[in-house]
Symmetry: C2
Subunit: 198 residues, 2 copies
């Protein structure tokens, strides 16, 4: 039976984390997702006037909007759209910074299914415009983060039709750069950007 | 009486443009909004490999998502959020480009209410990081577009508490740069960017 609150909203039971899930969250990456770590690092860079880098909002296709009052608009129907660019961009020392951050539970390789054609095309375009473009790849089991220049990713991505569908971790270690994972900032990728690109 | 289609969706009459509105749309700016003109120009720059500049998606606060099937997610409740940055950014010749585009029906000045604190703060931050930051200001009655460096806008914005709440057009003509409005691209602001900042 559906229970209705006085406000007319249908009651929906919220999923409650069970004990094992809580435990898992607490010990893996301090309860933060990789995205939250990056956002936190960007907030640190912004506050310290080191760089201005933001995550782009998720693109949505808005279909129906209600205006219950003059000032408030409520979106009643919308759909997620495939992003046509990378998630993060901004400016550091006048240079355009553009990147995507992804993580995997795999231990020995990074699956290329984490990326799609639109993003890869966008990365090519940014490189052609002399922008700084890379991916941050996190191996969750070891909490290791690597910065890999987008040129390498593009090459692996192109080769996947004839070759393997993931990038071996050994290749990432060789071609990429390890990023320090700490507290302030959590993922200090700009230090690597500075060393590699400046 | 509410008419229900077989799909269960409430029938909603779509607003039909009346003749005077159609006329207005057809003759003013060739039926395109300023935003569409800018997006079209950015598409041109992208196709011609001149620059990679995109409009950021509108930030939304998603409250409720339904999953009618395994693959499709329908957002059933969401709200518009105030953007914390400018609408457009990207890369041109390695440099970070960041701007906002606004239009007014006023003839002699540009109202500062078109901008808000968050955007102005963001512009300051971008300038501090040596990014190229400006606003494109369109006077709709004359279809004139000006590029005004963000430093000028920030100054006028700050002064509005003690001084006037709009920027006189004469000041924009003096401090800004006229942008050619044409067909390919519709608003060739990058030509001005190149002349002014490079």
């Amino acid at each position: 039976m559906a229970i209705h609150y006085p406000n007319g909203k249908k009651y929906e039971k919220q999923p409650q984390p069970n004990h094992s899930q809580q435990k898992k969250i607490s010990f893996s990456n301090r309860g933060m997702t990789f995205e939250e770590d990056i956002n936190d690092s960007n907030a640190y860079y912004l506050a310290q006037k080191i760089a201005v880098i933001h995550k782009k909002p998720t693109p949505l296709q808005i279909v129906k909007v209600d205006y219950p009052t003059r000032s408030a608009a409520v979106i009643k129907e919308a759909y997620f759209r495939q992003p046509s660019t990378t998630d993060y961009n901004g400016v550091y020392e006048g240079k355009h910074i553009d990147f995507e951050a992804k993580e995997t539970k795999n231990k020995t390789s990074f699956p290329l299914k984490n990326f799609h054609d639109h993003q890869i095309n966008h990365m090519k375009q940014v490189i052609d415009q002399k922008g700084i473009c890379f991916v941050l790849l996190r191996f969750t089991t070891t909490d290791e983060v690597f910065l890999l220049d987008a040129t390498h990713l593009i090459l692996f991505y192109k080769q996947q039709q004839t070759s393997r569908k993931s990038i071996p971790k050994k290749e990432i270690e060789k071609l990429g750069h390890i990023v320090t994972v700490g507290y302030h900032p959590r993922v200090d990728y700009l230090k690597v950007v500075h060393d590699v690109y400046f």
